[in-house]
């Protein structure tokens, strides 16, 4: 049977925690491949992945989430940090981070007009309607993973969902400054 995305998220992860890894690397081609290979080799699925330029010139930041045990995530983090062009890798639990994700939904406008519960549900979730036309309506929801997946499940229940996509997680640590900034102060890549 085909798995639903919400089911996948709600899968049994007994003894596992959803960890977020923050990885900083040099902007060199092929580093992403090396980072993801660490997960592949240990048979750990990446739940979400976001890569973008960081606030430090020439340094890219990866935000990766995965379900894992603490023992396993320690090994994964060390193996990532061992890669020559990876500057720093750390893992966090949700309570140690400010987290943000977005879900983008395309739902059927006729169904939206037909069932007032759908718009109540959007308001309840603090969703924003980005575009409305006679055929479809685009809804944006910013929040945590389970909020986004919950709205997804609701739209599925209403039978109005046409398309869905979810962003990777982005996250900031709760410390006042980024430790990598200090670490790289006055350095240049050799």
């Amino acid at each position: 049977m085909k798995k639903d995305i919400a089911d996948t998220f709600a899968e049994n992860h007994d003894g596992q925690t959803l960890y977020t890894l923050l990885v900083y690397s040099e902007n060199i081609a092929g580093v992403l491949n090396q980072v993801t290979a660490v997960f592949t080799r240990r048979q750990v699925n990446i739940e979400s992945l976001n890569v973008s330029a960081s606030s430090i010139n020439g340094i890219h930041k990866y935000t990766i989430t995965c379900w894992s045990t603490e023992e396993q995530i320690v090994k994964i983090t060390k193996a990532i940090e061992k890669k020559i062009d990876v500057v720093k890798a750390d893992f966090y639990t949700d309570d140690e981070l400010f987290i943000h994700e977005e879900g983008l939904f395309k739902i059927s406008t006729p169904r939206l007009l037909e069932d007032p519960e759908i718009s109540r549900c959007i308001r309840h979730h603090d969703g924003r309607m980005m575009e409305v036309n006679p055929t479809y309506t685009t809804v944006l929801l910013a929040g945590l993973t389970d909020e986004v997946t919950h709205l997804y499940s609701e739209f599925k229940r209403f039978g109005c969902l046409l398309q869905y996509t979810r962003s990777g997680r982005i996250a900031l640590t709760r410390s006042t400054e980024d430790p990598v900034v200090k670490m790289l102060e006055g350095t240049d890549n050799g």
Binding site: I28, A29, K78, T187, D188
Partner: protein
């Protein structure tokens, strides 16, 4: 700018050292090709010997190489191997005996992929090599051009660093960075994918010297508290046992190891790769660890109260069944690589540093101890193994020749001074067990990867890396044929490899496992061999064969006294088993002296 000018150059101000340009007739700032810069960069890294094989996409480099090998005082000695895989293994052998970075140059596509087994092997065994492979020009990348392969993508998971050079301006930097990464910290292989357009393109030559990389910390700072904690545990130990690995050899810490062991009166077992880190006849040596190691250290791992792992990685071949391994002991792990800590065996105290630094720090803090009673307790186990396994193996009086007695005879004839290079299989275990090691860097073996076909090319490399030493290469008939073409390299270069084929007409180790675990179903392990005498004659290599016990010593003597290479074939017992053995999935103290098969 004049020659011999000390200058500050490079990409990053904080990352590179001033460079002396030591050779005359070449000027900094002059325009030259990327291939020419490659030669200068290799020379600057003090490369003396290069192993390789030419081909289309690396021709500009070989053209430049021609210039520098034809000079009156050549910069490089280029060794033309007969297969690119051998280039990588030869570079490994060269590196393992010399401590220098081994270098291989090959062409793109199949030439490059042929080196990958050697790259993976070097990664597993922490061997510093740099492989330079040709690549199609930048404009042809990604077009499935002739002999194009995504080498960086292929090499990344099995190398310490892989990089594609796309511009001549990057050659000097990339080479210097490659050597720095290969040799620093925990050493390993680096692959440079050298596009043809970067080889032929021109730029002004400016040398580069990378001596740090900001994202890479090769030498962890020694944590004094960890050292103190470790010392406290050792000072309270009644039954300490040290496990010595190749990290000691890589760190050049053999003297520091002896001082540590002697002050603490700590018995030491050696891993396969760490066999020559401590002389075989050292009073505190208690033998070889692992599946086919010695009985006493394996059993005693389950009895010691403190286990001190020094530059070793708790490979599955050493630990056996992990969930029962040394559970009674406190574990102290000295290593340079943070990823090794708690990877397989949970550590009580980790001392992260080069053991050249951590061992003296620890020695300073431990008390002079006396563990005579504990050390003496190894002796009955040793005696048991000697009586039941070792003596019957090395001094048999009847029946066909045995592998152990051949190795022992060579070890005695070379008085522990030779370098042992071996292939993979029974020949590897017998030779590792019964060879004698007096000097450091005396064993070259494929430990982690277990690469059949490693022995012959690695031995060729070793003759160039340690030209003053005798190189004895033991191989089985199977592994020998995996690299048999390298007899051509030996012939051409007269590389003085003393080759000993332990011929049992079987892939012996697999045959043993089939007998043990697959009810004697010998599935494709019997092997019909060629006439090695004819092959040796074809390559003009001196040859002899030993089939009788009474002739063995004389034939070994003839081999060792013959200048240059020699191929000695020894007809050994067909179904001899390598013993003792800890069967897969069993605890190390369940090691069997005799296999009931």
């Amino acid at each position: 700018m004049s020659d011999n000018t000390k200058i500050k150059i490079g990409k990053g101000s904080g990352t590179q050292s001033p460079i002396e340009v030591p050779w005359s007739g070449i000027r900094i700032g002059e325009e030259c090709t990327g291939a020419e810069i490659m030669m200068r960069a290799l020379y600057q890294e003090d490369v003396k010997t290069i192993f390789g094989y030419p081909g289309g996409a690396i021709m500009p480099v070989f053209d430049a190489l021609y210039t520098y090998t034809q000079k009156k005082e050549p910069w490089f000695d280029f060794v033309l191997v007969r297969h690119e895989q051998a280039a990588a293994h030869s570079a490994e052998g060269y590196s393992r005996v010399s401590g220098n970075v081994g270098v291989a140059i090959v062409t793109s596509g199949p030439g490059a992929t042929n080196t990958l087994t050697g790259v993976a092997d070097a990664m597993m065994d922490s061997t510093p090599i740099v492989v330079v492979a040709g690549q199609v020009g930048v404009k042809a990348l990604g077009t499935d051009a002739f002999q194009e392969v995504d080498l960086v993508g292929l090499a990344q998971p099995i190398s310490k660093w892989s990089y594609q050079i796309r511009r001549p301006e990057d050659v000097a930097w990339a080479v210097s960075r490659a050597f720095y990464i290969a040799r620093s910290g925990r050493p390993g292989p680096v692959v440079l994918d050298f596009t043809r357009s970067a080889q032929t393109g021109k730029c002004k030559w400016e040398p580069s010297k990378v001596d740090s990389v900001r994202s890479y910390q090769p030498y962890p700072k020694l944590n004094i508290k960890a050292v103190k904690d470790a010392a406290q545990i050792i000072n309270n130990a009644k039954k300490p046992l040290a496990l010595v690995g190749q990290g000691v050899e890589l760190g050049g810490a053999q003297k520091e190891l002896r001082e540590f062991l002697e002050k603490g009166d700590i018995p030491a077992g050696r891993t396969l790769l760490g066999l020559s880190a401590l002389p075989s006849d050292h009073p505190l040596d208690v033998g070889m660890l692992g599946m086919h190691g010695n009985y006493a250290p394996n059993v005693k791992e389950q009895e010691c109260d403190v286990l001190i792992a020094i530059g070793m990685r708790f490979s599955d071949r050493v630990t056996g069944r992990l969930d029962t391994y040394a559970k009674q002991a406190k574990v102290i792990h000295l290593d340079i690589d943070p990823t090794e800590i708690d990877k397989n065996v949970k550590t009580d105290v980790a001392v992260l540093a080069d053991c050249k630094e951590s061992l003296p720090a620890l020695t300073n803090l431990i008390r002079k101890a006396d563990h005579k009673e504990w050390i003496d307790s190894f002796k009955p186990l040793w005696q048991k193994e000697t009586d039941q396994v070792i003596e019957p193996s090395i001094h048999p009086t009847e029946g066909p020749l045995l592998m152990g007695e051949v190795v022992n005879a060579v070890a005695e004839a070379t008085n522990g001074e030779a370098v042992l290079v071996n292939d993979v299989g029974e020949n590897q275990m017998f030779s590792a067990r019964y060879f004698k090691y007096k000097r450091s860097r005396s064993i070259v073996t494929s430990g982690g990867a277990g690469t059949m076909g490693f022995g012959l090319p690695a031995a060729i490399g070793a003759t160039f890396g340690a030209p003053d030493r005798t190189i004895c290469m033991f191989s089985g008939d199977g592994g020998f044929q995996m690299s048999i073409q390298e007899l051509g390299t030996i012939m051409e270069r007269q590389a003085p490899v003393k080759m000993i084929i332990l011929n049992n007409n079987y892939l012996g180790n697999v045959r043993q496992w089939q007998d043990l675990m697959f009810n004697h179903r010998r599935s494709f392990t019997r092997m019909l061999n060629p006439r090695y005498e004819d092959i040796a004659r074809g390559y003009n290599i001196p040859y002899d064969v030993a089939t009788e016990r009474k002739d063995l010593a004389a034939k070994i003597d003839k081999m060792l006294k013959t200048d240059g290479p020699f191929l000695l074939e020894v007809a050994v017992k067909e179904d001899e088993n390598i013993q003792p053995m800890t069967p897969p999935g069993k605890s190390v103290d369940e090691m069997m002296l005799h296999l009931d098969i």
